[in-house]
């Protein structure tokens, strides 16, 4: 094992505050009309933007299809990332194959963008007992529901890699609500103290179920939390995939270079209900949602790319067809009923079932055999 690790050395606690505070406004590179914004940030490589466009189309189609499947009872629940697809796509596109993604329940589209089969990616939300994919093979952790808890796992995974001298970065994703949990605090602090290569990516969609951001924090921005850990905070327009690729890309690069963890807050909006079971009419007006529809990540990128001859009707049709194919696979895969085997309940509680579990499983087996005998 290669050891190459030193904790942060801050004997005099004098890290420069100016370097840690976020910009006053979120970084935008392409405005809602598709025009470039003249700022001091690099525009991503055109091919990267085209790739992102294709991924956006897929992510949107994925969301729409999943919403349809939940209505048809083929999924137990679906927390849609409709409108947040730029975040979903960008946080994956900036990663190397050896990096890890730590998603929440809302980040199924990101998991698919990472290359996980869409049917497998929806295993948990379909109501199965496991995440459906191999975290090691895919370098995607199981979707976390207990809020902010997985941020600490990201720190651990990245720290272990660092101890072995591997160049791994962990992309740890959470929502605005999750930043209020103690585990968010502990994760940022541990990562900062150990200079662990984690990018904490907060998708601030302004709501935690029904609770608006103002009830979640009184800070100037969530990115302002970084300085309290010695972590640089950045703010980015969460519906501008170009800005996201640039800001998240830079964060990954810094983390990989040994500069420690990074905090990026994306300003976006949850245009749909929290999940299919939610009733947003109880806590927000349609008027609040409308302006956000005009800031849609796809309708913004498309004119920009068309204007630069990076995209045309033919290409768009191609991406749409690919997305449609994915949707068809989802319908087929999730339309099938899976056979649930009770033995799976006992098989993975421990590496070896305990005698108690063997006894309990035998009881079920006996019940079933008697049922069959009837």
């Amino acid at each position: 094992m290669v050891f190459d690790w030193q904790p942060a050395q801050n004997p005099f606690m004098t890290r420069d505050a100016a370097l840690l505070l976020p910009s006053t406004e979120p970084v935008t590179l392409i405005d809602p009309d598709g025009d470039p914004v003249p700022v001091g940030h690099d525009m991503p490589d055109p091919q990267a933007l085209v790739r992102a466009y294709a991924a956006l189309i897929t992510a949107r189609r994925f969301n729409d299809q999943a919403n349809a499947l939940v209505r048809q009872g083929r999924l137990a629940v679906y927390p849609s990332s409709h409108g947040q697809e730029a975040c979903q796509v960008a946080c994956v596109q900036v990663l190397d194959p050896g990096d890890w993604l730590f998603p929440t329940y809302r980040d199924s589209a990101a998991i698919v963008a990472r290359g996980v089969d869409p049917v497998r990616a929806l295993t948990l939300l379909r109501g199965d007992w496991h995440c459906g994919y191999d975290p090691h093979a895919t370098r995607v952790a199981p979707q976390a529901t207990p809020l902010a808890t997985h941020l600490l796992h990201a720190v651990g995974v990245a720290h272990a890699a660092r101890l072995r001298g591997e160049p791994t970065v962990a992309m740890a994703v959470c929502g605005d609500g999750a930043t209020s949990e103690g585990d968010f605090h502990e994760a940022l602090n541990f990562a900062a103290v150990f200079r662990t290569p984690v990018v904490f990516f907060v998708q601030n969609n302004e709501y935690a179920i029904s609770v608006p951001l103002a009830r979640q924090t009184a800070a100037p921005s969530l990115a302002h939390k970084g300085i309290g850990y010695g972590v640089p905070g950045a703010r980015v327009d969460g519906n501008d995939v170009a800005a996201l690729l640039t800001v998240l890309g830079a964060a990954v690069t810094r983390a990989r270079a040994g500069e420690g963890p990074q905090l990026v807050e994306a300003h976006t909006y949850r245009v749909q209900p929290h999940t299919n079971a939610d009733d947003p009419g109880r806590y927000r007006s349609a008027d609040e949602v409308t302006p956000w529809l005009a800031r849609d990540p796809i309708t913004r990128l498309e004119p920009y790319l068309r204007g630069r001859a990076l995209l045309d009707d033919e290409k768009i049709a191609g991406y749409a067809a690919e997305a449609e194919e994915l949707a068809a696979r989802m319908r087929a895969g999730l339309g099938e009923d899976t056979v649930a085997d009770y033995r799976d309940l006992f098989a993975h509680v421990y590496a070896e079932p305990t005698p108690q579990l063997r006894e309990q499983q035998a009881l079920v087996a006996d019940e079933l055999s008697r049922e069959e005998a009837r």
């Binding site: 137990a76 629940v77 927390p79 329940y105 809302r106 948990l124 939300l125 109501g127 199965d128 007992w129 529901t145 207990p146 809020l147 609500g177 999750a178 209020s180 949990e181 103690g182 585990d183 935690a208 179920i209 029904s210 609770v211 009830r215 979640q216 924090t217 209900p273 929290h274 999940t275 299919n276 079971a277 939610d278 009733d279 109880r282 806590y283 899976t338 649930a340 009770y342 799976d344 309940l345 006992f346 509680v349 305990t354 108690q356 579990l357 309990q360 079920v364 019940e367």
Partner: protein, 347 residues
């Protein structure tokens, strides 16, 4: 995610005042009415937690409270359970009676230290000078087709912690009465609300007082064996007793209602009267409330027992996904199988 509640959650339409004639209401109605009546009766009663304000809670138990009592008495907090409970403890130390909601059972775990090291101990460590009259409402247990972390039966953690009261209603009337009593209690009460019973209806005259916290109730008389259950397992036990009656076996059903304090008197009298017992509970069995019931009743009634007291509980596994939860939940068949096993040859 929280909102695994059915998408058409019925909004409990509270009756303006408890009506004199029993009506069919849901447990959700009853709980909502209990909160409302408690807040009307005592303006130190406050309700807070995640999404309990304008949304009315993901199960709508706090529906309409912010509208009636204002933002100051029913409000949403930042998303942090230790924060919610810690703040509640402080408010209780300063004259308030907070009723907090933990959105789902497994999401109460971040508050565990506040609960065990403070809520449960504050009275003792101030020699009785600073009690903590809080109610921690926990939508709990399974049977609702929830995804992972949304169906834990966590009562053993609380029941094992000295200083907490732990109660679980099994029908709307008791939900109303127990919640009113919990809010009036000078001590912290963990109030476990069986999620799967939220929207089942039963007649309930809310003007009738229920027995105090600490008392069990015989819900069905019977002479051959006793089923001991609480919370979500009570209706299953009653159903099993009904099925057994068809087969000519008379099963008594005891609803514990209150896990701590425990009603040894009622439970032991019931078991002595039949000489056989089965404890029914949804939680994993190992080192659980059901273990305690078996142990203490056996200690006290040994020579009245014709057979060892048996348990029908959840297995010692993480709560299963929707498609397999029937395997984990105590069922009528499993209860009847277990009753059949109570060594009737020794009768």
């Amino acid at each position: 995610m929280a909102a695994t509640a059915p998408s058409q959650v019925p909004s409990p339409t509270p009756s303006p005042a408890p009506s004199p004639r029993p009506e069919k209401i849901t447990m959700a109605n009853a709980l909502n009415q209990a909160l409302r009546d408690a807040m009307r009766a005592d303006d130190t009663v406050l309700v807070f937690g995640e999404d309990v304000g304008p949304l009315g809670g993901v199960f709508r138990i706090t529906d309409g409270l912010t509208a009636e009592f204002g933002e100051r008495r029913c409000f949403d907090t930042p998303l942090a359970e230790s924060g919610i409970l810690g703040m509640a403890i402080g408010m209780a130390m300063n004259g308030m009676r907070p009723v907090v909601e933990m959105q789902f059972d497994a999401f109460a775990y971040p508050a565990f230290e506040q609960l065990v090291s403070h809520a449960a101990k504050m009275r003792n460590r101030t020699r009785g000078r600073a009690g903590v009259p809080i109610v921690v409402r926990v939508p709990y247990a399974g049977g609702i087709g929830g995804v992972e972390h949304h169906c834990d039966s966590s009562e053993a953690y609380y029941a094992h912690t000295p200083g907490l009261h732990v109660v679980a209603p099994a029908d709307p009337a008791d939900a109303y009465g127990l919640l009113r009593r919990a809010i009036e209690s000078p001590d912290p009460v963990i109030f476990l609300e069986p999620k799967k019973l939220y929207f089942s209806r039963a007649e309930a005259d809310l003007t009738l007082p229920v027995p105090p916290i600490g008392r069990a109730v015989v819900r069905r008389p019977g002479t051959d064996a006793t089923l001991i259950a609480y919370g979500p397992a009570v209706p299953v036990a009653l159903e099993a007793a009904e099925a057994a009656a068809q087969e000519g076996r008379s099963l008594q059903v005891v609803d514990l209602r209150s896990i701590v304090p425990f009603d040894d008197e009622t439970v032991c009298a019931a078991v002595r009267s039949t000489g056989r017992a089965v404890v029914v509970a949804e939680a994993a069995g190992f080192a659980s409330v059901s273990s305690e019931v078996v142990a203490r009743v056996t200690e006290r009634c040994f020579h009245s027992l014709h057979a060892p007291i048996r348990r029908v509980t959840g297995f010692d596994i993480p709560y299963p996904p929707p498609k397999l939860e029937h395997v984990q939940l105590p069922s009528v068949d499993r209860i009847l199988d277990t009753v059949d096993d109570l060594q009737w040859e020794f009768a």
